[in-house]
Symmetry: C2
Subunit: 151 residues, 2 copies
DNA sequence: GTAGGACCTCAAGGTAACTTGAGGTCAAGT
DNA sequence: ACTTGACCTCAAGTTACCTTGAGGTCCTAC
């Protein structure tokens, strides 16, 4: 059995079939269709779905993941090197996030109790020391262009 | 001028007035009302709002933040020590999240290209299913939980 | 004492990432 | 051939976290 039905892919990845259909609607995943209209996935789809999930856990949106997946070669099954390159591109982001969290951990205790949290110049609320300059709120954790959840 | 109107609190915290009203509906923030029905905040509200934002960026839900805020003393303005205790309670969580991210960073490159990503037992693919079920948010921040059933 | 910006409420809208349900079809085992 | 579980589509619902808009009121500076 070289192809997988949606239920099999779901079982192999732990991702609900409804989510797999949703990913297809969103252009993150593609499937061949049988004559009867059912989805058939190549085995490479397992890795693709796994990649999507790992990326999500790192905090990327589906939009960003779609973009990342767009850099994979079309027309052939991605090689191990393709995947490696893709995931290696996350490293600066991961480093940045780890950094931000460490800064937070190391300064929070000394900072949150003091008056500085009420100031827009607080080091935690404004990492780049651009104290309140035309800014709109705390964003020490987020690189430029990102926003807190839901905002 | 010892009290703040909503616009002033918004300006001081960088949080939209609509969000401040929303926080009040959700029980995270309280305000005295003028005879005319307008909100008036004590200066301590600035710190409270800042706390809410920092907590959100660390990945806590408003629900969790409300719970945390619930441990503050009622009836008096929280002291520096109160805030310190509250923020110190985050430390284990922050440590755990930093740990998880570091593990991810250090293993991703060697892992994602290999076959293990296709297995539910992969150390990186260890979605805390509570998070998956509980809507949006940064999942990467979640501490390593148990394996999915059967993994 | 009045102009008008700041404020009020309530309902509805928006986004991300899905899930659920209704109503119907496909395909594999016997 | 038949049964039955897996599959299909499409619309609507869900959760978290807000924003926007309509319609109206407050309050402060001139």
């Amino acid at each position: 059995m070289t192809e997988l039905a949606i239920g099999a892919l779901s079982a192999r990845t732990g991702v609900a079939a409804s989510a797999l259909r949703f990913y297809e609607d969103e252009g993150l995943l593609h499937a061949r269709r049988t004559a009867g209209g059912q989805r058939r996935y190549p085995r490479a789809a397992i890795r693709r779905v796994s990649f999507i999930r790992v990326a999500q856990q790192v905090g990327l949106s589906l939009e960003e993941i779609r973009t990342a997946l767009g850099t994979l070669p079309e027309g052939r099954t991605p090689t191990e090197a393709d995947w490696r390159r893709l995931s290696a591109s996350w490293r600066p982001m991961l480093d940045a996030r780890i950094d931000a969290l460490e800064r937070l951990r190391d300064r929070l205790d000394g900072c949150i109790g003091c008056g500085c949290l009420s100031l827009r110049s607080c080091a935690l609320l404004n990492p780049d020391d651009r104290a309140g300059a035309a800014g709109s709120g705390p964003r020490y954790l987020l690189p430029d262009g990102e926003r807190p959840p839901g905002a």
